[in-house]
Symmetry: C2
Subunit: 108 residues, 2 copies
Amino acid sequence: MERLHDAAEKLKLLGDKTRLTMLSLMKEREWCVCEFVDILDISQPGVSQHLRKLKAQGIVKENKQGQWVYYSLNVEDKPYIKAVLEHMPDSKAILSALNKEGIKSICK
Amino acid sequence: MERLHDAAEKLKLLGDKTRLTMLSLMKEREWCVCEFVDILDISQPGVSQHLRKLKAQGIVKENKQGQWVYYSLNVEDKPYIKAVLEHMPDSKAILSALNKEGIKSICK
DNA sequence: TTATTATATAAGCATACGATTATATAATTA
DNA sequence: TAATTATATAATCGTATGCTTATATAATAA
């Protein structure tokens, strides 16, 4: 059952707290790598690697703007992923819980 | 964000082909361990351990009937898991793809 | 051009995971 | 009671995962 195999591969990526947080944040807007680094307790290479995996599975897409790379959701054709994210908290709640409500493109 | 942590833990369990198949089958009815052993290409202890993890996260519940233990979904209070499973193939499609349409409580 | 900033890639490492075989427990049947 | 059947647990093992530090690449700014 190829469909289940592929779905499992993608769901596996949602089964990580850091990635699930990033994806939930991306429900609102696109974010650049350095913003995730500021928000999440993880190194910059760590963030990049999570995003690489998500992109490899087509779950996110990138948008290069000068030296910044913005990542956003690409789940319109992945209904079960979309459904999961719809049940996750929104950016405001996430940032508030992480005490990071102040961040705004800190990357300078 | 405790909610994301917990959700990630549960989604991690869906991110495995074998478990996702079992859960999708359970959309239709409860199944005993030996049925899963017949259907999936995995040993009996392997099946038991997958079910133990699913039960530990409250995703399935068991129903002991004599020497058989039947497992079924317990996702009414887990909307995002429910949503994922609703997008997965049904038992008929799964068994057909695995060439296992014949099985019917083979455990004898 | 040189320095700075943003991102990606590589290498290494500890831990988690999925599977197996062996064995234990429990219920059923002879 | 002994044998069979169903399930669970334990021990083991190879591989995958997530993280880090170090380094490379690319774009911007001085």
